[in-house]
């Protein structure tokens, strides 16, 4: 181990010797973003049907799609300009301030670690359900998934995201194959939407159910903003990040629409709302063993791709905290051979394992969603501050998103609706988590921040922000 690594001096951004490798292209960015999110089509989105009915699940699919389109537009502009590992953390550090950056990094670590936990639980439960062996539990499958993927991440980002690209593509193609196999242009043969979603049951709870459905509607797309974590490892951030993120978002909107249409046309909303495997069940209900097995394998691959991307992203957010001394700099070490933030990867491993064994799928998803929505609320305010402090033309932007400030306003309003939706089901958890963030912020502001160098945190070659 080099002395530089041991002292936590790790990255070229801060003028050090061992850095993360710039080896990724737009396809890897797509694989990271879509890989994390696509599992949401295989489980999670359907709980929105439970909260509001099948039509509510479709309405939130579109409206939350709008929320995430705003996220992708805003993120593409800011990240193509602030190209550093940590993504939204680095954005907050340069635009809002250190305490906000600390909180945003925690949002990221929580959102991705709990999403990883959800993925591992899904994978274990799916295998157990398929095996149908009495006494078989999901524990060993969960542990193996988390440990093996952590090892893959430890060994290098290029291999990690090459694997993600392949398995994400297979899982995505399986949705397309399912869609075209059930003759989507004809009703009555296989699909029976008119008989399953009727005027009497489309919105069983009325419009309050639609609002409540926002909570799990987030799951259609949660994690697409994770593309920004690769900012320091892509060859051309200004090109790859906007291209990969927007392509990912388009891909997901298509997948979400196909998934809803097929699933809502094959099963009653009461069952759709509680199953852990909506697409696998859809495959079974077509009566085709080939489709059933394809969707079973695709469910496993989607869970693997998501957990893989989550480990990648959570570790980079934690690594960034160490690099700026927001947490002990021990975490900022980069592996001298594999060039990965290996200590952060290893540190988060037992935390993920612990929660995989104490939380159930529904709760893990909710924890992840809560942190995600807190982060999106920050993003809507962050872009306003970014444009105010550095108006167009004052710094070079890799991408400038159109219609500003409309996407920020839409994002903020939809976040408020989602907070209300979470209140309708998980209000106590929202309060508990916000109190946690509040207390940990006090700890950071009044104690931990003394160990942080002030001016060194601002590493972008920009002019002084306006108003300062």
């Amino acid at each position: 181990m080099t002395a530089a690594v041991e002292t936590g001096l790790t990255t070229t951004i801060h003028g050090d010797r061992v850095s993360l490798l710039r080896v990724l292209g737009p396809a890897h960015v797509w694989a990271l973003g879509v890989g994390i999110v696509l599992v949401g089509e295989f489980t999670g989105w359907n709980f929105s049907a439970d909260k509001g009915g099948a039509l509510a699940a479709l309405i939130v699919c579109w409206i939350v799609g709008l929320l995430y389109t705003s996220v992708a537009m805003i993120d593409s502009e800011v990240t193509s300009t602030v190209a550093a590992a940590g993504g939204q953390y680095a954005q907050a550090k340069h635009i809002v301030g250190p305490l906000m950056a600390f909180n945003v990094a925690l949002f990221l670590v929580f959102a991705y670690t709990m999403l990883e936990v959800s993925d591992a639980i899904l994978l274990g439960d799916t295998i157990v359900a398929k095996a149908g062996v009495e006494g078989l539990t999901h524990n060993s499958f969960i542990a193996a998934t988390i440990v093996v993927l952590a090892w893959l991440n430890y060994r290098g980002v290029l291999m990690t995201l090459n694997v993600n690209f392949v398995i994400t593509a297979i899982a995505y193609v399986s949705i397309v194959i399912l869609f075209f196999s059930v003759s989507p242009w004809t009703q009555g043969a296989v699909l029976k939407l008119n008989e399953l979603v009727t005027p009497g049951n489309a919105l069983p709870y009325g419009w309050i159910g639609v609002i409540a459905a926002f909570q799990f509607g987030i799951w259609y797309y949660l994690g697409i903003e994770g593309t920004t974590q690769a900012a320091e490892e892509v060859r051309s951030p200004a090109r790859s990040l906007p291209y990969g993120t927007m392509a990912g978002m388009i891909t997901l909107l298509i997948a979400a629409a196909m998934t809803w249409y097929v699933c809502a046309s094959l099963m009653p909303w009461e069952y759709l709302g509680i199953t852990y495997y909506p697409l696998w069940d859809a495959g079974k209900l077509t009566g085709s063993p080939l489709l059933e097995n394809l969707l079973f394998i695709a469910t496993l691959l989607a869970a693997l791709a998501s957990a893989n991307g989550c480990i990648n992203d959570a570790a980079r957010a934690w690594f960034s905290l160490g690099r700026d001394r927001y947490l002990p700099s021990w975490f900022s070490a980069v592996h001298p051979k594999y060039r990965t933030p290996y200590r952060s990867i290893l540190f988060l491993l037992p935390i993920a394992l612990a929660f995989a064994f104490i939380a159930d799928l529904n709760q893990a998803i909710t924890f992840s969603i809560l942190s995600g929505v807190l982060q999106y609320t920050f993003m809507s305010i962050n872009i306003m501050m970014f444009r105010k402090k550095w108006p167009l033309g004052t710094i070079r932007r890799g991408y400038t998103h159109p219609f500003h400030p409309l996407p920020a306003i839409v994002l903020f309003c939809l976040c408020m609706v989602t907070f209300f939706a979470i209140f309708l089901g998980f209000g106590s958890q929202l309060i508990a988590m916000t109190v946690f963030y509040f207390l940990i912020s006090l700890w950071f502001h009044f104690y931990r921040y003394r160990f942080v160098r002030r001016g060194d945190q601002f590493s972008m070659p920009w002019p002084k922000p306006q108003g300062y």
């Binding site: 439970d50 909260k51 809002v96 301030g97 250190p98 305490l99 906000m100 950056a101 929580f110 008989e195 399953l196 009727t198 009497g200 049951n201 709870y205 409540a212 094959l266 099963m267 009653p268 009461e270 069952y271 509680i274 069940d281 209900l285 947490l327 002990p328 612990a354 104490i358 939380a359 709760q363 924890f367 305010i381 907070f419 209300f420 209140f423 309708l424 998980f426 209000g427 106590s428 958890q429 929202l430 309060i431 508990a432 988590m433 916000t434 946690f436 963030y437 509040f438 207390l439 940990i440 912020s441 921040y449 003394r450 160990f451 942080v452 002030r454 001016g455 601002f458 002084k464 300062y468």
Partner: protein, 125 residues
């Protein structure tokens, strides 16, 4: 502006700080589970007559339930397990106050720290 030099933190201090963060994470995520605060308010609205018709299922729905391995008796608890959306205003107000207070503190304290960063970064030049 004088350049701020942070104190060197001892190894024991670093380990303690890591422990604080880990314990805080576990308490925040685990406590609601332990106290039974996690989870949405759903309850079963029982029906006396457990038939597909009474459960509001038409012939197509009933055939799918049966394909999935359910009978009206076994599907009853799934179909009748409903949310009861009641807005608890005191809790909603507490949630709003906590969220607003959190974000206000976050932005104000961040701005104070940010001014130090900008002053040191740009006044050095």
């Amino acid at each position: 502006m004088a350049r701020y030099t942070p104190p060197e933190q001892s190894k024991a201090g670093q380990v303690f700080d890591i422990a604080v963060v880990v314990v805080a994470i576990f308490v925040a995520l685990w406590l609601p589970l332990k106290l039974g605060l996690a989870g949405a308010a759903k309850s079963i609205d029982p029906l006396d007559a457990k038939t597909w018709d009474a459960l509001g299922q038409n012939a197509t729905m009933a055939s799918i339930w049966e394909k999935l391995g359910y009978t009206p008796e076994t599907a009853h608890d799934i179909i009748q397990n409903r949310f009861h959306y009641i807005i608890d205003w005191p809790t909603l107000i507490i949630m709003a106050i906590v969220l607003i207070a959190y974000f206000v503190f976050l932005f104000r304290a961040s701005d104070k720290e940010y001014r130090e960063v900008i002053n040191e970064k740009f006044d050095d030049k």
